[in-house]
Structure formats: structure tokens, C-alpha cells
């Protein structure tokens, strides 16, 4: 039988957690099966598909390849942490509007990759979007509607930030 052999301290979506986990657990297993944050998905458990992608200190990370203790001391954001009390993040809303989530299983990881891209490069063009999403496999869409959704969100975010700047 597995015994809980490690206490880890994680900050996920702004919440601090202290949890006992088997010492070989990955961050993904801790998120899904210990903290109950099942939005991040396991598609291959080998770092091949990208469905487990989360945002760690502003960068996309494959949570299925990361021992959970490596996440200690970092700020982790999952798909559950993208929306605000005001509503879904523009990326989430545009994915919905464009039908960019067909089966939806790759969507959480793709949203995390796209979010980090737009945070770092608010004017990312299609080629840059393709580069940023190249580690996320989608088997349903052929990626076309995903590009449309990310570009629409990019435009909304840049309009919003321009308005914000002009109001200052």
C-alpha cells in the first residue's frame, strides 16, 4: 500500500494548499486527485499531448512531467483560475463562441498555452500562435477554429488595454 510520504505546499489559482501526497506524484496527479482540480487533463502521462499544461510563474508547464515538490514555491494557474468574478476570460469566451472546444479535452491545456502567449506577446500573429500551441495536440478541430478564437481574444484584450490606457 502506498503511504503518504510527503507534505507539499502549493499555491494554485491564488489559494495556498498544504496536502499529503505520495512522494512520486506529479503535479497533475496532485491537482486532479488530491486538490480536486480536475480541469487539467491527463491524455498521455508522458508529456506528449499537452492536455495537462498549466501556467507556472507565467510560463506553460507540462504538469504530468513535473514531480509535485518541484511546484513548491511557485504560483500555479490552471484552467479553473482563468475566469474572474466578472466572467470568463476573453480566451474562454472566444473558444466558446468559435466552437474551438469540440470534445474539450485538450482545451484546458491549450488555454493555458494561449494565455501565457498573449500575456507575453499581446500582438501575437498566427505564426506565433501556431508556435506557442505546437506542444498541444488537438484531435478534433484541425486547429482552425482555435486560431480564430485566440486571435479574437487577442484583439479584444488589446482593445481593452488600449481603452484602459486612454482612460488613465
Amino acid at each position: 500500500m502506498t503511504t503518504i510520504s510527503k507534505i507539499v505546499r502549493l499555491t494554485v489559482n491564488g489559494d495556498r494548499h498544504e496536502a499529503g501526497v505520495p512522494s512520486h506524484f506529479t503535479l497533475l496527479e496532485a491537482l486532479r486527485y488530491v486538490l480536486g482540480l480536475t480541469g487539467s487533463k491527463q491524455g498521455c502521462d508522458k508529456g506528449d499531448c499537452g492536455a495537462c499544461t498549466v501556467i507556472m510563474d507565467g510560463l506553460p508547464k507540462l504538469s504530468c512531467l513535473m514531480p509535485v515538490w518541484e511546484a513548491e514555491g511557485t504560483e500555479v494557474v490552471t484552467v479553473e483560475g482563468l475566469a474572474t468574478p466578472d466572467g470568463p476570460h476573453p480566451l474562454q469566451d472566444e473558444f466558446d463562441r468559435w466552437g474551438a472546444a469540440q470534445c474539450g479535452f485538450c482545451t484546458p491545456g491549450i488555454l493555458c498555452s494561449a494565455k501565457t502567449l498573449l500575456d507575453r506577446n499581446p500582438s501575437a500573429n498566427r505564426a506565433e500562435i501556431q508556435d506557442a500551441l505546437s506542444g498541444n495536440l488537438c484531435r478534433c478541430t484541425g486547429y482552425a477554429k482555435i486560431y480564430d478564437a485566440v486571435e479574437a481574444a487577442r484583439d479584444r484584450l488589446s482593445t481593452a488595454s488600449a481603452l484602459g490606457a486612454s482612460n488613465e
Binding site: C44, C49, D96, S134
Partner: protein
């Protein structure tokens, strides 16, 4: 109601439709974008155990003994089962039940399940598997389909023969001939012969198979599963486990992709049920990605030989096909696959004679089954390349050649399938124009090329998998005092949007805002039966059922409002959240008040609706019901490629996809199906192959690439630009005129790319995939033969010139 309701599509003219035909969000779209959506592995229950399956290391062997005593004794293990605990065969096709949930006496491929355990956690379950001692006696294993077909019984066949003296490696043989093929071939002006090989491919949904079983201890069994066929799972669980159907409940959380790979029961579903019955605890099994690859049921490898004749002015005459299907270890849908390999080729082109001779054999490899475009993607590749070769021989533009052989609408194919609407000519025209075909074909520089292909596909099948006269799809609807509409749907949402389709229809017919429709789904305890998400049947059949249910409720509301207003019921419109009087729409009531009037008049408001297929439309010959569909979709693709003759690397720059979907109920979702289909076909054309190793390349029977790194599906960087061009032919049988869109648009990708490669460098690629090494070999052979180069240009006379 009558069991068949043709004409549902004609109830409303385009101008009367408020929602249908516009871009709408999906009912579960935001859940999927926020992480709220629940898939099977997201569920956990108090006391839940984790299961694992022990799998055979041998491709073909007799099980001598299995000793589970040490596994049972391990602390934390709650149940261990073997094949002897479930000694009943099952199979999705009722005539070919040839699998046990766990093997009883023989294993037939590396990966066949022989025992299963349930333990407190995954690690303990894995340790328990190591303690199971299984002893095997190896048998000769068949890997080559031709060897399997020619076997003489000197070593055991993969399965016992149906009769003494028969070859037990044969699943099914179909030989059908329409017209006089040999005579017609002899009198043809040109005949083209070709050998084609389609290596198998697999589905790779991003969600691995997962199931949870819960036995309540007194008679009721509940199974949650990532399945696309909850109804068939329901039936087979009942039969294999000996629990009354009324005591089995199957729940289907959202499914993370399927593509045919989850369209029959799998070992894990029986195992979680049995392990729960033994342990008294809920049990979950989640396949590893490697197990998903071995579970397979993907596209069959096909060896195909085609002879195709035409007249010198480009009319198809005779088509003669011989096909060997490598089925792997079990029958799966193989009986149907064998028929589909020939039956679905007879449109969109007219032919004067057709024969196919298809044989499916068992081999000791992971079982093949249905993958998007079941049974017809492989022959379509070969046939559309044959047509390209014929067009060149008669010096006719390949688009013009296809036009000239158009079968027409409201007609019958040579194998007696009934075609209703047919927008194939519009598809050809759309891709021709969008791709600027005329200025590119045979006109681009060496190394760059463009190719075309066409296809057809079924919108479901007229005959269900198990013979019965009941509806193929049904829904229930109820409306309440708040204005809300609840739809109970048993259809399988696998990402294609069928939960949304019933919501769109309810909102359209009852005049409520889309957000007021709730779809209750995925639970055999309270939803009526829909047969499942396969054969591109769901939107077509479920849509018709939903129209039926909604129309019944609409009439009650119209009647109640008409009575209050003292007008005719037919003059009451339900739209945009109001009941309105058609002659003067300023006379209106909020829709919930209209519903309240109806409830006061008729009592609680609910209805059922159903759809059944026409049963009198099929060929009058053995097998003539297989391939018969209420309506057929049509597709045409043009692909543009660039080939590097030094490396053999093919880059597909763009695919134009025109698809006749009858009517696009929600265009953005139809485009998504078209793009996703073309993408999947592109992957099969250039990158994917589900190869089983032979003895020269490792351990025979092991998969070459059982991971998402080694089995290469296209990433964002691989996938070409895709342009979806929707063609609407408004079919008389479909809901509002709709036909399928989820599988048809895959077919032409592969031959369009093959034909484009030929246009680029003059090299035919008759074996899949068109990977760099394969194409490079073709280039080298052509170089040696002196045929490498841009194919000669030829004029493309119009029919009327």
C-alpha cells in the same frame, strides 16, 4: 406518429428559421472552456478502488494456468478476476460475438486481457499484477493477412472455423457484382490497373478510455464510461454479467474524443463492473495511453487491386475491385467493414458495371474496427487515384472528368442505394473556384502541384446493428412555467455537438431563448434510447426526433394561445421569446405566459419524439441493406502541395474542403467538422501508421509506436491551412434538410494529396503514408526510370465545346 417522417426538412422555409442556420454557441461550450466539464476520470466516489488489467505478452498462445493467489493475498487488494469469472462472449455485431471480457483459454494478440485486479490505489494494483502467475503455451501467430488467408489449418487458426474444413482466419467474404464487369471492361477504350496499400491508422482521442463500476450489493449495476455507444454497452453488460437490463444503468459523462475508437464495449467496462460486484466497492479503470493504442479498433490495413475502365470521352464504364482487409484479433464491426469496403463506392459517379471481392481475415494483432469514414476511406483513396489516372489517359481535366460522371440527385446507384439530394457538382465548383484550379493544374513549376478528389458518405444506416423495428433515436421534452425547456436526450456527445443540436431545435420550434433550454443527457435511466455516435447518424436521426417532440409541444401552445385570442392555431407564432399573432405580430405574449396558458388547458406539458429510418429502401440482394442510408453527403477537396525532390518531404500548403451537408444547422460547428475531418485525413496521408512489428524489426506483435510521441498526429506546425466551403442541398429526409458532416469530409483529403503529389513531380504514391522515406523511394525509382518531372499539360475541353 408514423415510424418514418420524411419531409421533416420541408416544414420550414429558410426565411422562417430564426436560429437554425446561424452561428450559435454549444450548450456545454463554456463548461469545456472553464474546466467545469466533467469527464469520466474526473469522477471519484467514496471508497473507490483502482483497477488494472494484466495483459498477454504473447501474440497467440493457449492459457495453461493463471494463479492469482499471491495477488489476492497482497494487502490492499480487494478483488482479482480472470476470464473464468465472465465466460460469455460478446461483440458489437450480434452475429460475431468472439471476445471474452478477459481471455478464457486463448490469447490472440499482445495486449489481450487475462486478469484484472482492484486495489486501494493504482500502485497496489500494479504490484498485484506482478504477483499473478500466468503460464502460456505459445502458438504460431499470424501477422501477414495473406498468410492468414491462405492458412491450411496445420497450425491453429486465430479463431475456430465456423464449419469443419473452413479457414478459421476468415471473418467475412463478400463478393458482389452489378452489371457485366468483364464484358464492360473489354469494351472500354482505356483501362487503368493499380495496386494500393493503406497502412492502418488509429483514432487517438486525447481522452483515454475510462470506466467506473458500482454494484449496489442487492442487484443494481451502474457503469460510467467514456463510450460513444451507451445503449450497446448497456445491452452487453446485462448479457455478459447476467444482470437484467432494467437493473443496469449506464452513464456517459462528456467524452473527450472518440472518432469510432469507443464505439463498442471494451474489457475495462466489464472489468470495473465485475470487480465492483466482487469487492462491493466502486472501481475505476483508466487506460494508459499505451493501452489505448493496443485497444485500437482503428482503420483496417487494406490491400487493394483496382481495374477501372472508361470511354475515350471520359465516361466511367467498369470498376473491378479485390480487397484484403487485415482485421486483427477480433471481429469488432468487421462484418460491416467488409461490406462497406465495396458498398460505399458507387457514388458520386455513375458506372455501368461494378464488382468487388472483399475478404477480411483475422491476424494476431490489435483488432481493427471503425474509424471516422468506416470502411470507405481506404477504397476511396484508391478509386480517386484511379480516376486521376484515367482522366490523364483520356486527357480530360480531372474536375471535368468527375463532373462528366456525376450520378445526379434523386436516383439510385448501381448497387441500388437510394440517393436523395446531391450537391456534388456545387462542391466541385466551389473548390475549383476557391483554389484557382484552372490557373494551377499542370501549370505550376516542378515540385508544386494541385489535386482533386470527391466522395460520398452515409447519414446513418437504415438498418440498426441488432434487428428491431423500434425507433433509432428518440427524445423527450418538457416545458415548465418559467419558460424553460428540458430535453432528455440519450445521444452521445463526443464533441460533435449533438447536445446542442437538440437545444437549437427546441429553441427554434418553441420560441424560447437558447439559454432557456436544458439538455439532460448521458444516463440510460432517464433518457430514451439513441443507438450511439457512429455511422454519422446522430444529427440526422436525433434532429428528426427532436423536431417531432418539439412540434407536438408547439401545437399545444399554439392551440391554447389561439383559444385565448380567438384566432386560428396556425396563426400563432412562437419565436424570439414570444407568442405572436402572425397577421399582426404586435399582438404578443411573453412565451412563459403562453406556456402557462397551455399548461392550464392541457395539464403538465411533455412530449416524446422519435425517428426511424425508411425500411423499404435497399438493394434486393444479400447484403443490399448494408450501406443503405436515408441520405448521403457529398464532398470534394482540392489540395495544394510542395514536394522537395531531394528529401521526399511533402508539404501540404492548403486544403479546400467543400461539403454538401444538406443544411448547416449551425455553420460554425459544421465548419469545425469539415476542418477536423480534413485534418485527420491529412494526418493519415502524410504521417500516421499503426504498424505492428514483425520479427525483423523487434518482437513480432508489438506495436511500433504506442505513444503520442512516436505515433505522429499532426501538430499546429504540421497542419495545413484548411478552408471550409459549406454546400447546402436541403435534403428531403433530414432535419430542416440537414445531412451528415462529421465523417464524409475526411475521405477526399488522402487522394487529393496523392493526386497533387503527382501533379507536382510526376510520381504516383499508391502506398500510404506519403512520408518522406516512402515518397523519396518513389522519386528515386522515377529518377532511375527517367519519368521524374512535371506531368505533361493537356487541354481541358468542356463538355459543351
Amino acid at each position: 406518429m408514423s415510424d418514418h417522417a420524411p419531409g421533416a426538412g420541408r416544414r420550414k422555409a429558410q426565411s422562417d428559421l430564426r436560429l437554425i442556420g446561424s452561428n450559435m454557441r454549444k450548450v456545454e461550450g463554456l463548461d469545456k472552456a472553464t474546466g467545469r466539464a466533467v469527464y469520466t476520470d474526473d469522477l471519484a466516489f467514496p471508497g473507490m478502488l483502482h483497477g488494472k488489467i494484466l495483459r498477454s505478452p504473447h501474440a497467440h498462445a493457449t492459457i495453461v494456468s493463471i494463479d492469482v493467489s499471491r495477488a489476492e493475498a497482497l494487502d490492499g487488494v480487494h478483488a482479482v478476476i480472470t476470464g473464468k469469472d465472465m465466460p460469455t462472449t460478446y461483440g458489437v455485431i450480434p452475429w460475431t460475438p468472439d471476445e471474452y471480457p478477459l481471455c478464457v483459454d486463448r490469447v490472440r494478440y499482445i495486449g489481450d486481457g487475462v486478469a484484472a485486479v482492484a486495489a486501494v490505489d493504482e500502485d497496489t494494483a500494479l504490484r498485484a499484477l506482478e504477483l499473478i502467475e500466468a503460464e502460456y503455451e505459445e502458438l504460431h501467430a499470424f501477422f501477414d493477412p495473406q498468410e492468414a488467408a491462405d492458412a491450411d489449418g496445420s497450425t491453429p487458426y486465430v479463431h475456430d472455423a465456423h464449419k469443419d474444413g473452413w479457414n478459421g482466419n476468415i471473418t467475412k467474404m463478400v463478393h458482389l457484382e452489378f452489371g457485366e464487369v468483364d464484358r464492360s471492361m473489354e469494351t472500354s477504350d482505356v483501362v487503368v490497373e493499380g495496386d494500393y496499400f493503406f497502412e492502418g491508422t488509429t483514432h487517438t482521442p486525447i481522452e483515454p478510455h475510462c470506466a467506473i463500476g458500482q454494484w449496489d450489493g442487492v442487484g443494481q449495476l451502474t457503469v460510467w464510461s467514456a463510450t460513444q455507444v451507451p445503449h450497446y454497452l448497456h445491452r452487453e453488460l446485462s448479457r455478459v454479467l447476467g444482470v437484467d437490463q432494467a437493473q443496469v444503468r449506464v452513464l456517459q459523462p462528456l467524452v473527450g474524443g472518440a472518432f469510432g475508437g469507443k464505439s463498442e464495449p471494451f474489457d475495462l467496462e466489464f472489468c470495473v463492473a465485475k470487480l465492483s460486484m466482487v469487492s462491493g466497492r466502486p472501481v475505476k479503470i483508466l487506460y494508459t495511453r499505451e493501452e489505448v493504442f493496443y485497444a485500437h479498433r482503428g482503420r483496417h490495413p487494406f490491400q487493394m487491386k483496382y481495374r477501372t475502365g472508361a470511354t475515350s470521352d471520359g465516361k466511367l464504364t467498369s470498376v473491378d475491385a479485390k480487397i484484403l482487409l487485415d482485421g486483427g484479433a477480433y471481429a469488432s464491426f468487421g462484418l460491416v467493414t467488409t461490406y462497406y469496403s465495396g458498398q460505399l463506392l458507387c457514388a458520386p459517379y455513375e458506372m455501368s458495371a461494378y464488382r468487388f471481392d472483399s475478404t477480411r481475415v483475422y491476424t494476431n494483432k490489435p483488432a481493427c474496427g471503425p474509424k471516422r469514414g468506416h470502411g470507405s476511406v481506404q477504397p476511396r483513396f484508391a478509386f480517386e487515384v484511379q480516376i486521376d489516372k484515367l482522366a490523364e489517359k483520356v486527357r480530360l481535366d480531372p474536375i471535368e472528368f468527375r463532373r462528366r460522371n456525376f450520378i445526379g440527385e434523386h436516383t439510385r446507384t448501381i448497387n441500388e442505394l437510394r440517393i436523395t439530394s446531391n450537391g456534388f457538382l456545387e462542391c466541385l465548383e466551389a473548390v475549383e473556384r476557391a483554389s484557382d484550379w484552372k490557373s494551377k493544374f499542370r501549370k505550376m513549376p516542378f515540385g508544386r502541384g494541385i489535386g482533386v478528389a470527391g466522395s460520398t458518405y452515409i447519414s446513418g444506416t437504415n438498418y440498426p446493428i441488432y434487428p428491431n423495428d423500434m425507433p433509432q433515436s428518440a427524445v423527450q421534452m418538457q416545458i415548465d412555467r418559467s419558460g424553460r425547456v428540458a430535453v432528455f436526450s440519450g445521444a452521445s456527445e463526443i464533441g460533435q455537438g449533438c447536445d446542442s443540436v437538440v437545444a437549437y431545435i427546441a429553441a427554434e420550434e418553441l420560441g424560447v431563448p437558447l439559454e432557456w433550454v436544458r439538455v439532460m443527457r448521458g444516463d440510460t435511466d432517464f433518457t430514451p434510447v439513441d443507438l450511439g455516435a457512429y455511422s454519422s447518424r446522430v444529427t440526422f436521426m436525433l434532429g428528426n426526433a427532436a423536431i417531432d417532440a418539439a412540434t407536438k409541444l408547439r401545437k399545444l401552445v399554439q392551440e391554447a394561445v389561439a383559444k385565448t385570442w380567438d384566432v386560428k392555431a396556425g396563426e400563432v407564432l412562437l419565436a424570439d421569446g414570444f407568442a405572436m399573432w402572425a397577421p399582426d405580430t404586435s399582438r404578443q405574449l411573453p412565451i412563459q405566459e403562453a406556456f402557462n396558458l397551455a399548461e392550464a388547458e392541457f395539464g403538465a406539458l411533455g412530449s416524446t419524439g422519435s425517428y426511424n429510418t425508411p425500411k423499404d429502401v435497399h438493394g434486393e440482394y444479400r447484403g443490399g441493406t448494408i450501406g443503405a442510408s436515408p441520405a448521403y453527403s457529398f464532398t470534394s477537396h482540392v489540395a495544394e502541395v510542395e514536394v522537395d525532390v531531394e528529401s521526399g518531404v511533402v508539404e501540404v500548403q492548403k486544403i479546400w474542403v467543400a461539403h454538401d451537408c444538406g443544411r448547416a444547422l449551425n455553420p460554425i460547428l459544421v465548419e469545425g467538422q469539415m476542418e477536423g475531418s480534413a485534418y485527420m485525413g491529412f494526418g493519415e496521408a502524410l504521417m500516421e501508421q499503426h504498424v505492428v512489428k514483425d520479427a525483423d524489426h523487434g518482437r513480432a506483435g508489438l506495436l511500433d509506436a504506442p505513444s503520442l510521441l512516436d505515433y505522429r498526429i499532426p501538430t499546429t506546425l504540421d497542419t495545413p491551412e484548411l478552408e471550409a466551403l459549406i454546400i447546402e442541398s436541403i435534403d428531403p429526409e433530414g432535419p430542416y434538410g440537414a445531412k451528415e458532416a462529421g465523417e464524409g469530409p475526411l475521405h477526399p483529403s488522402i487522394p487529393a494529396i496523392a493526386n497533387a503529389i503527382y501533379d507536382a513531380i510526376g510520381v504516383r504514391t499508391d502506398r500510404l503514408p506519403f512520408s518522406a522515406p516512402m515518397v523519396w523511394r518513389g522519386i528515386e525509382a522515377a529518377r532511375a526510370a527517367g519519368t521524374l518531372g512535371k506531368p505533361a499539360s493537356y487541354a481541358s475541353p468542356r463538355k459543351d465545346s
